[in-house]
Protein backbone atom coordinates (compact mmCIF):
# COMPACT_ATOMS: atom_id res chain seq x y z
CA UNK A 1 0.00 0.00 0.00
CA UNK A 2 2.79 2.40 0.86
CA UNK A 3 4.40 2.56 -2.59
CA UNK A 4 0.96 3.18 -4.07
CA UNK A 5 0.49 6.20 -1.81
CA UNK A 6 3.92 7.40 -2.84
CA UNK A 7 2.92 7.10 -6.51
CA UNK A 8 -0.20 9.18 -5.92
CA UNK A 9 1.87 11.76 -4.05
CA UNK A 10 4.23 11.91 -7.02
CA UNK A 11 1.32 12.49 -9.39
CA UNK A 12 -0.02 15.26 -7.15
CA UNK A 13 3.43 16.84 -7.03
CA UNK A 14 3.63 16.87 -10.83
CA UNK A 15 0.15 18.39 -10.99
CA UNK A 16 1.14 21.05 -8.46
CA UNK A 17 4.24 21.87 -10.49
CA UNK A 18 2.15 22.22 -13.65
CA UNK A 19 -0.31 24.49 -11.84
CA UNK A 20 2.50 26.69 -10.52
CA UNK A 21 3.97 26.84 -14.00
CA UNK A 22 0.83 27.69 -15.96
CA UNK A 23 -1.81 29.27 -13.75
CA UNK A 24 -0.15 32.62 -12.82
CA UNK A 25 0.22 33.52 -16.50
CA UNK A 26 -3.40 32.74 -17.26
CA UNK A 27 -4.62 34.73 -14.23
CA UNK A 28 -2.46 37.69 -15.14
CA UNK A 29 -3.75 37.75 -18.71
CA UNK A 30 -7.32 37.03 -17.62
CA UNK A 31 -7.66 33.93 -19.80
CA UNK A 32 -10.81 32.56 -18.17
CA UNK A 33 -11.86 29.94 -20.70
CA UNK A 34 -8.32 28.62 -20.90
CA UNK A 35 -8.23 28.30 -17.12
CA UNK A 36 -11.48 26.32 -17.14
CA UNK A 37 -10.35 23.90 -19.82
CA UNK A 38 -6.95 23.59 -18.17
CA UNK A 39 -8.57 22.68 -14.85
CA UNK A 40 -10.94 20.16 -16.40
CA UNK A 41 -8.18 18.40 -18.33
CA UNK A 42 -5.81 18.41 -15.37
CA UNK A 43 -8.48 17.07 -13.03
CA UNK A 44 -9.27 14.31 -15.51
CA UNK A 45 -5.61 13.45 -15.92
CA UNK A 46 -4.82 13.44 -12.19
CA UNK A 47 -8.01 11.51 -11.41
CA UNK A 48 -7.28 8.82 -13.98
CA UNK A 49 -3.63 8.44 -13.12
CA UNK A 50 -4.32 8.29 -9.36
CA UNK A 51 -7.01 5.69 -9.96
CA UNK A 52 -4.56 3.74 -12.08
CA UNK A 53 -1.84 4.04 -9.42
CA UNK A 54 -4.19 2.93 -6.64
CA UNK A 55 -6.25 0.15 -8.16
CA UNK A 56 -4.20 -0.92 -11.14
CA UNK A 57 -7.11 -1.78 -13.38
CA UNK A 58 -9.25 0.65 -15.36
CA UNK A 59 -11.48 -0.55 -18.22
CA UNK A 60 -10.33 0.96 -21.49
CA UNK A 61 -12.52 3.40 -23.42
CA UNK A 62 -11.68 1.40 -26.54
CA UNK A 63 -14.32 -1.11 -25.44
CA UNK A 64 -17.01 1.49 -26.15
CA UNK A 65 -15.60 2.28 -29.56
CA UNK A 66 -15.45 -1.44 -30.30
CA UNK A 67 -19.10 -1.78 -29.26
CA UNK A 68 -20.17 1.15 -31.46
CA UNK A 69 -18.29 -0.16 -34.48
CA UNK A 70 -19.26 -3.82 -34.04
CA UNK A 71 -21.93 -3.88 -36.81
CA UNK A 72 -19.61 -2.21 -39.30
CA UNK A 73 -16.64 -4.41 -38.40
CA UNK A 74 -18.87 -7.52 -38.59
CA UNK A 75 -19.95 -6.43 -42.05
CA UNK A 76 -16.35 -5.95 -43.17
CA UNK A 77 -15.42 -9.34 -41.74
CA UNK A 78 -18.37 -10.88 -43.54
CA UNK A 79 -17.29 -9.58 -46.95
CA UNK A 80 -13.75 -10.68 -46.18
CA UNK A 81 -11.96 -7.35 -45.93
CA UNK A 82 -10.87 -7.89 -42.32
CA UNK A 83 -9.47 -11.09 -40.96
Amino acid sequence: MLPKIANVLGILLVAAAIIMFEVPYMRKKGLKKELWLFSILLLLGVGLSSAKALSGFIPTPLDWITAVYRPFSDFLTHIGLIK
Binding site: K29, L31, L41, K52, T66
Partner: protein
Protein backbone atom coordinates in the same frame (compact mmCIF):
# COMPACT_ATOMS: atom_id res chain seq x y z
CA UNK B 1 -2.79 30.17 -33.32
CA UNK B 2 -3.58 29.15 -36.92
CA UNK B 3 -3.33 31.89 -39.47
CA UNK B 4 -0.34 33.51 -37.82
CA UNK B 5 1.97 30.54 -38.03
CA UNK B 6 3.26 29.68 -41.46
CA UNK B 7 5.47 26.83 -42.51
CA UNK B 8 6.98 26.46 -45.95
CA UNK B 9 5.99 23.85 -48.51
CA UNK B 10 9.34 22.12 -48.10
CA UNK B 11 8.84 21.81 -44.37
CA UNK B 12 5.36 20.48 -44.97
CA UNK B 13 6.74 17.86 -47.35
CA UNK B 14 9.29 16.64 -44.81
CA UNK B 15 6.74 16.63 -42.04
CA UNK B 16 4.34 14.64 -44.21
CA UNK B 17 7.03 12.09 -45.08
CA UNK B 18 7.94 11.52 -41.45
CA UNK B 19 4.27 11.46 -40.50
CA UNK B 20 3.47 8.88 -43.19
CA UNK B 21 6.31 6.59 -42.17
CA UNK B 22 5.40 7.16 -38.53
CA UNK B 23 4.33 4.15 -36.54
CA UNK B 24 3.55 2.25 -39.73
CA UNK B 25 7.18 1.29 -40.35
CA UNK B 26 7.25 -0.64 -37.10
CA UNK B 27 3.89 -2.38 -37.14
CA UNK B 28 2.63 -2.60 -40.72
CA UNK B 29 4.69 -5.52 -42.14
CA UNK B 30 3.51 -7.96 -39.49
CA UNK B 31 -0.22 -7.54 -40.06
CA UNK B 32 0.17 -7.43 -43.83
CA UNK B 33 2.27 -10.59 -43.94
CA UNK B 34 -0.30 -12.33 -41.80
CA UNK B 35 -3.03 -11.66 -44.35
CA UNK B 36 -1.29 -11.54 -47.73
CA UNK B 37 1.71 -13.83 -46.99
CA UNK B 38 4.47 -13.37 -49.56
CA UNK B 39 2.38 -10.94 -51.62
CA UNK B 40 2.34 -8.28 -48.91
CA UNK B 41 4.61 -6.05 -50.96
CA UNK B 42 2.06 -6.00 -53.82
CA UNK B 43 -0.61 -5.10 -51.30
CA UNK B 44 1.59 -2.26 -50.03
CA UNK B 45 1.89 -0.90 -53.58
CA UNK B 46 -1.88 -1.10 -54.01
CA UNK B 47 -2.15 0.67 -50.67
CA UNK B 48 0.04 3.55 -51.82
CA UNK B 49 -2.15 3.95 -54.90
CA UNK B 50 -5.32 4.00 -52.82
CA UNK B 51 -3.66 6.35 -50.35
CA UNK B 52 -2.98 8.89 -53.09
CA UNK B 53 -6.65 8.78 -54.09
CA UNK B 54 -7.61 9.45 -50.48
CA UNK B 55 -5.17 12.38 -50.35
CA UNK B 56 -6.82 13.74 -53.50
CA UNK B 57 -10.09 13.75 -51.57
CA UNK B 58 -8.55 15.71 -48.68
CA UNK B 59 -6.98 18.22 -51.03
CA UNK B 60 -10.31 18.71 -52.79
CA UNK B 61 -11.79 19.49 -49.39
CA UNK B 62 -8.93 21.83 -48.51
CA UNK B 63 -9.24 23.69 -51.83
CA UNK B 64 -12.84 24.58 -51.00
CA UNK B 65 -11.85 26.29 -47.76
CA UNK B 66 -8.25 27.42 -48.20
CA UNK B 67 -8.23 29.60 -45.09
CA UNK B 68 -9.71 27.06 -42.70
CA UNK B 69 -8.66 24.09 -40.66
CA UNK B 70 -10.68 20.89 -40.37
CA UNK B 71 -12.64 22.32 -37.43
CA UNK B 72 -13.41 25.46 -39.42
CA UNK B 73 -14.67 23.32 -42.31
CA UNK B 74 -16.89 21.32 -39.98
CA UNK B 75 -18.37 24.51 -38.56
CA UNK B 76 -18.90 26.01 -42.00
CA UNK B 77 -20.53 22.91 -43.44
CA UNK B 78 -22.43 21.41 -40.52
CA UNK B 79 -23.44 24.62 -38.79
CA UNK B 80 -21.79 26.19 -35.80
CA UNK B 81 -23.00 24.01 -32.94
CA UNK B 82 -23.26 20.69 -34.74
CA UNK B 83 -19.83 21.35 -36.22
CA UNK B 84 -18.34 21.99 -32.79
CA UNK B 85 -19.99 18.89 -31.33
CA UNK B 86 -18.81 16.68 -34.18
CA UNK B 87 -15.34 18.19 -33.95
CA UNK B 88 -15.17 17.49 -30.23
CA UNK B 89 -16.34 13.91 -30.68
CA UNK B 90 -13.91 13.47 -33.58
CA UNK B 91 -10.89 14.60 -31.60
CA UNK B 92 -11.91 12.96 -28.33
CA UNK B 93 -12.07 9.54 -29.96
CA UNK B 94 -9.09 10.29 -32.16
CA UNK B 95 -7.00 11.20 -29.11
CA UNK B 96 -7.37 7.76 -27.54
CA UNK B 97 -7.02 5.99 -30.87
CA UNK B 98 -4.05 7.74 -32.37
CA UNK B 99 -1.47 9.60 -30.23
CA UNK B 100 -2.16 7.46 -27.18
CA UNK B 101 -1.99 4.24 -29.18
CA UNK B 102 1.26 5.25 -30.87
CA UNK B 103 2.82 6.08 -27.50
CA UNK B 104 1.74 2.63 -26.37
CA UNK B 105 3.49 1.11 -29.39
CA UNK B 106 6.65 2.97 -28.50
CA UNK B 107 6.54 1.91 -24.85
CA UNK B 108 5.73 -1.65 -25.81
CA UNK B 109 8.50 -1.72 -28.41
CA UNK B 110 11.07 -0.44 -25.94
CA UNK B 111 10.06 -2.70 -23.07
CA UNK B 112 9.70 -5.87 -25.12
CA UNK B 113 12.66 -5.50 -27.47
CA UNK B 114 15.30 -3.22 -26.01
CA UNK B 115 15.07 -2.51 -22.28
CA UNK B 116 12.84 -5.26 -20.85
CA UNK B 117 13.50 -4.49 -17.19
CA UNK B 118 12.37 -0.87 -17.35
CA UNK B 119 8.68 -0.35 -16.57
CA UNK B 120 6.65 0.97 -19.48
CA UNK B 121 5.39 4.12 -17.72
CA UNK B 122 9.00 5.31 -17.34
CA UNK B 123 9.63 5.05 -21.08
CA UNK B 124 6.31 6.67 -21.92
CA UNK B 125 6.83 9.59 -19.53
CA UNK B 126 10.29 10.33 -20.89
CA UNK B 127 9.15 10.19 -24.49
CA UNK B 128 6.04 12.22 -23.73
CA UNK B 129 8.21 14.95 -22.22
CA UNK B 130 9.96 15.71 -25.52
CA UNK B 131 6.67 15.56 -27.37
CA UNK B 132 5.11 18.04 -24.96
CA UNK B 133 8.12 20.31 -25.29
CA UNK B 134 7.74 20.28 -29.07
CA UNK B 135 3.98 20.82 -29.02
CA UNK B 136 4.33 23.66 -26.55
CA UNK B 137 6.88 25.40 -28.73
CA UNK B 138 4.51 25.28 -31.67
CA UNK B 139 4.26 24.23 -35.27
CA UNK B 140 7.20 26.24 -36.58
CA UNK B 141 9.59 24.57 -34.18
CA UNK B 142 8.15 21.16 -35.03
CA UNK B 143 8.61 21.83 -38.74
CA UNK B 144 12.18 23.04 -38.30
CA UNK B 145 13.14 20.10 -36.14
CA UNK B 146 11.67 17.84 -38.82
CA UNK B 147 14.00 19.51 -41.33
CA UNK B 148 16.89 18.99 -38.97
CA UNK B 149 16.15 15.32 -38.26
CA UNK B 150 15.30 14.37 -41.82
CA UNK B 151 18.88 13.79 -43.10
CA UNK B 152 19.62 11.52 -40.14
CA UNK B 153 16.41 9.65 -40.74
CA UNK B 154 17.18 9.16 -44.44
CA UNK B 155 20.75 8.12 -43.66
CA UNK B 156 19.58 5.47 -41.20
CA UNK B 157 16.89 4.29 -43.58
CA UNK B 158 19.29 3.93 -46.48
CA UNK B 159 21.87 2.13 -44.35
CA UNK B 160 19.18 -0.28 -43.14
CA UNK B 161 18.11 -1.11 -46.69
CA UNK B 162 21.65 -1.36 -48.05
CA UNK B 163 23.08 -3.41 -45.19
CA UNK B 164 20.20 -5.84 -45.17
CA UNK B 165 20.14 -6.45 -48.92
CA UNK B 166 22.81 -9.16 -48.70
CA UNK B 167 20.36 -11.34 -46.72
CA UNK B 168 17.67 -11.23 -49.39
CA UNK B 169 16.36 -14.61 -50.52
CA UNK B 170 14.27 -14.31 -53.65
CA UNK B 171 12.47 -17.60 -53.05
CA UNK B 172 10.73 -15.97 -50.08
CA UNK B 173 8.38 -14.04 -52.38
CA UNK B 174 7.68 -16.99 -54.64
CA UNK B 175 5.16 -18.13 -55.73
CA UNK B 176 3.74 -14.72 -56.57
CA UNK B 177 -0.04 -14.44 -56.14
CA UNK B 178 -0.34 -17.99 -54.84
CA UNK B 179 -3.64 -17.29 -53.08
CA UNK B 180 -5.05 -15.06 -55.81
CA UNK B 181 -5.83 -11.36 -55.48
CA UNK B 182 -8.35 -11.78 -52.65
CA UNK B 183 -6.03 -11.35 -49.63
CA UNK B 184 -4.32 -8.40 -51.31
CA UNK B 185 -7.36 -6.18 -50.86
CA UNK B 186 -7.63 -6.79 -47.16
CA UNK B 187 -3.88 -6.33 -46.62
CA UNK B 188 -3.99 -3.13 -48.67
CA UNK B 189 -6.88 -1.92 -46.52
CA UNK B 190 -4.86 -2.44 -43.36
CA UNK B 191 -1.94 -0.58 -44.98
CA UNK B 192 -4.13 2.36 -45.96
CA UNK B 193 -5.85 2.54 -42.60
CA UNK B 194 -2.56 2.82 -40.73
CA UNK B 195 -0.49 4.85 -43.16
CA UNK B 196 -2.88 7.08 -45.08
CA UNK B 197 -6.32 7.48 -43.51
CA UNK B 198 -4.97 9.33 -40.44
CA UNK B 199 -3.75 12.00 -42.89
CA UNK B 200 -7.10 13.68 -42.40
CA UNK B 201 -5.55 15.21 -39.29
CA UNK B 202 -3.06 17.02 -41.53
CA UNK B 203 -6.03 19.18 -42.56
CA UNK B 204 -5.52 20.91 -39.20
CA UNK B 205 -2.19 22.15 -40.55
CA UNK B 206 -2.36 22.06 -44.28
CA UNK B 207 -4.59 24.69 -45.83
CA UNK B 208 -4.47 27.20 -42.98
CA UNK B 209 -0.85 27.21 -41.81
CA UNK B 210 1.01 26.84 -45.10
CA UNK B 211 1.80 29.92 -47.10
CA UNK B 212 1.34 28.84 -50.74
CA UNK B 213 -1.56 26.53 -51.47
CA UNK B 214 -0.37 25.16 -54.83
CA UNK B 215 3.08 24.31 -53.57
CA UNK B 216 1.63 22.90 -50.38
CA UNK B 217 -0.67 20.61 -52.33
CA UNK B 218 2.29 19.24 -54.23
CA UNK B 219 4.26 18.93 -50.98
CA UNK B 220 1.56 16.77 -49.41
CA UNK B 221 1.55 14.46 -52.43
CA UNK B 222 5.34 14.14 -52.69
CA UNK B 223 5.75 13.72 -48.95
CA UNK B 224 3.18 10.94 -48.80
CA UNK B 225 4.58 9.32 -51.91
CA UNK B 226 8.11 9.23 -50.48
CA UNK B 227 6.83 7.96 -47.14
CA UNK B 228 4.62 5.40 -48.86
CA UNK B 229 7.47 4.00 -50.91
CA UNK B 230 9.71 3.84 -47.88
CA UNK B 231 7.04 1.66 -46.31
CA UNK B 232 6.73 -0.50 -49.43
CA UNK B 233 10.49 -1.13 -49.38
CA UNK B 234 10.44 -2.06 -45.69
CA UNK B 235 7.52 -4.46 -46.22
CA UNK B 236 9.26 -6.00 -49.24
CA UNK B 237 12.56 -6.36 -47.37
CA UNK B 238 10.86 -7.93 -44.37
CA UNK B 239 9.24 -10.52 -46.64
CA UNK B 240 12.41 -11.09 -48.66
CA UNK B 241 14.74 -11.47 -45.70
CA UNK B 242 12.61 -12.96 -42.94
CA UNK B 243 10.05 -14.74 -45.07
CA UNK B 244 6.28 -14.32 -44.68
CA UNK B 245 5.98 -16.64 -41.67
CA UNK B 246 8.58 -14.99 -39.51
CA UNK B 247 7.38 -11.51 -40.53
CA UNK B 248 3.86 -12.32 -39.45
CA UNK B 249 5.05 -13.80 -36.16
CA UNK B 250 7.20 -10.82 -35.16
CA UNK B 251 5.37 -7.85 -33.64
CA UNK B 252 8.07 -5.51 -34.95
CA UNK B 253 9.47 -7.10 -38.12
CA UNK B 254 11.49 -4.07 -39.18
CA UNK B 255 13.42 -4.29 -35.91
CA UNK B 256 13.98 -8.00 -36.49
CA UNK B 257 15.25 -6.96 -39.91
CA UNK B 258 17.82 -4.64 -38.35
CA UNK B 259 18.99 -7.51 -36.14
CA UNK B 260 19.85 -9.47 -39.29
CA UNK B 261 22.54 -6.97 -40.26
CA UNK B 262 25.89 -8.65 -40.04
CA UNK B 263 28.69 -7.65 -42.36
CA UNK B 264 31.67 -9.98 -42.09
CA UNK B 265 30.82 -10.77 -38.44
CA UNK B 266 32.17 -7.32 -37.72
CA UNK B 267 29.39 -4.82 -38.30
CA UNK B 268 26.58 -6.29 -36.23
CA UNK B 269 24.27 -5.56 -33.31
CA UNK B 270 23.56 -2.13 -34.70
CA UNK B 271 19.79 -2.44 -34.30
CA UNK B 272 19.90 -0.04 -31.36
CA UNK B 273 21.31 2.62 -33.70
CA UNK B 274 18.64 1.76 -36.23
CA UNK B 275 16.03 2.24 -33.52
CA UNK B 276 16.84 5.97 -33.68
CA UNK B 277 14.98 5.94 -36.98
CA UNK B 278 11.81 4.68 -35.33
CA UNK B 279 12.16 7.18 -32.50
CA UNK B 280 12.29 10.01 -35.03
CA UNK B 281 9.29 8.85 -37.04
CA UNK B 282 7.21 7.98 -33.98
CA UNK B 283 8.09 11.30 -32.40
CA UNK B 284 6.79 13.25 -35.38
CA UNK B 285 3.71 11.09 -35.67
CA UNK B 286 2.70 11.72 -32.05
CA UNK B 287 3.75 15.37 -32.17
CA UNK B 288 1.61 16.10 -35.22
CA UNK B 289 -1.32 14.29 -33.59
CA UNK B 290 -0.92 16.23 -30.35
CA UNK B 291 -0.46 19.54 -32.14
CA UNK B 292 -3.67 18.95 -34.10
CA UNK B 293 -5.57 17.95 -30.99
CA UNK B 294 -4.48 21.07 -29.11
CA UNK B 295 -5.26 23.35 -32.07
CA UNK B 296 -8.63 21.67 -32.50
CA UNK B 297 -9.57 22.21 -28.86
CA UNK B 298 -8.42 25.82 -29.08
CA UNK B 299 -10.55 26.41 -32.16
CA UNK B 300 -13.63 24.67 -30.85
CA UNK B 301 -13.62 26.81 -27.69
CA UNK B 302 -12.23 29.96 -29.35
CA UNK B 303 -9.21 30.14 -27.06
CA UNK B 304 -6.74 32.97 -27.41
CA UNK B 305 -3.86 30.89 -26.19
CA UNK B 306 -3.57 27.14 -26.64
CA UNK B 307 -0.20 26.41 -25.06
CA UNK B 308 -1.62 26.14 -21.57
CA UNK B 309 -3.52 23.00 -22.52
CA UNK B 310 -0.44 21.05 -23.54
CA UNK B 311 0.74 19.89 -20.13
CA UNK B 312 -2.63 18.64 -18.79
CA UNK B 313 -3.18 16.87 -22.11
CA UNK B 314 0.27 15.39 -21.64
CA UNK B 315 -0.72 13.81 -18.34
CA UNK B 316 -3.77 12.36 -20.07
CA UNK B 317 -1.59 11.13 -22.92
CA UNK B 318 0.75 9.26 -20.60
CA UNK B 319 -1.90 7.72 -18.37
CA UNK B 320 -4.10 6.73 -21.28
CA UNK B 321 -1.16 5.15 -23.09
CA UNK B 322 -0.80 2.82 -20.12
CA UNK B 323 -4.46 1.90 -19.83
CA UNK B 324 -5.74 1.84 -23.46
CA UNK B 325 -4.55 -1.64 -24.28
CA UNK B 326 -4.71 -4.07 -21.36
CA UNK B 327 -2.41 -6.45 -23.25
CA UNK B 328 -0.91 -7.08 -26.66
CA UNK B 329 -3.51 -9.61 -27.90
CA UNK B 330 -6.20 -7.01 -27.13
CA UNK B 331 -4.20 -4.48 -29.13
CA UNK B 332 -3.84 -6.80 -32.11
CA UNK B 333 -7.53 -7.71 -32.08
CA UNK B 334 -8.51 -4.05 -31.74
CA UNK B 335 -6.20 -2.91 -34.50
CA UNK B 336 -7.68 -5.27 -37.05
CA UNK B 337 -11.31 -5.44 -35.91
CA UNK B 338 -12.07 -1.89 -34.84
CA UNK B 339 -9.31 0.46 -35.93
CA UNK B 340 -9.89 -0.31 -39.63
CA UNK B 341 -13.63 0.51 -39.63
CA UNK B 342 -12.98 3.45 -37.32
CA UNK B 343 -10.32 4.97 -39.54
CA UNK B 344 -12.44 4.27 -42.63
CA UNK B 345 -15.33 6.21 -41.16
CA UNK B 346 -13.12 9.10 -40.08
CA UNK B 347 -10.76 9.26 -42.98
CA UNK B 348 -12.96 8.25 -45.89
CA UNK B 349 -16.68 8.56 -45.18
CA UNK B 350 -16.47 11.72 -43.12
CA UNK B 351 -14.66 13.85 -45.77
CA UNK B 352 -16.99 12.38 -48.41
CA UNK B 353 -19.92 13.49 -46.27
CA UNK B 354 -18.45 16.99 -45.93
CA UNK B 355 -17.90 17.21 -49.69
CA UNK B 356 -21.44 16.11 -50.48
CA UNK B 357 -22.86 18.62 -48.00
CA UNK B 358 -20.82 21.28 -49.75
CA UNK B 359 -22.19 20.17 -53.13
CA UNK B 360 -25.76 20.25 -51.83
CA UNK B 361 -25.26 23.72 -50.40
CA UNK B 362 -23.86 25.04 -53.64
CA UNK B 363 -26.83 23.58 -55.47
CA UNK B 364 -29.09 25.46 -53.07
CA UNK B 365 -27.34 28.80 -53.48
CA UNK B 366 -27.24 28.46 -57.26
CA UNK B 367 -30.99 27.98 -57.39
CA UNK B 368 -31.63 30.96 -55.15
CA UNK B 369 -29.60 33.54 -57.02
CA UNK B 370 -29.94 32.48 -60.60
CA UNK B 371 -29.02 35.83 -62.22
CA UNK B 372 -25.41 36.05 -61.06
CA UNK B 373 -23.99 32.88 -62.48
CA UNK B 374 -20.48 34.00 -61.55
CA UNK B 375 -21.27 33.33 -57.92
CA UNK B 376 -18.40 31.33 -56.52
CA UNK B 377 -18.74 30.48 -52.89
CA UNK B 378 -15.50 30.05 -51.04
CA UNK B 379 -17.07 29.09 -47.76
CA UNK B 380 -17.82 32.58 -46.45
CA UNK B 381 -21.57 32.02 -46.62
CA UNK B 382 -21.36 29.60 -43.71
CA UNK B 383 -24.50 28.00 -42.35
Amino acid sequence: MPGQINISARQLMILTTLYTVGSAILIIPSGMALVAKQDAWIAALVGVGAGLLILYLYIKLAALYPQMTLIGMMEALLGKWLGKAVGLLFFATFFINAPVAVLFYLGNFMTTQMIPETPMPAVNILFALIILLAVRLGLEVIARSAELMFPLFILLYISLTVLVVSNVKLENVQPVLEAGVGPIWSAALSFVSTAFLPHIVLLMIFPASVNRFDQARKAIFTGSLIGGFMLVVVVALAILVLGPDLTARNIYPSYALAKKISIGHFLQRIEAIMATMWFISLFFRITVYMHSTVTAIAQIFHLKNDRQLVLPLGILLVVMSIIVYPNVPYQQAYDTKTWIPYSLSLGLFFPLLLLSIHALKRLGTKKNNRPDDKHEDRGEDGA
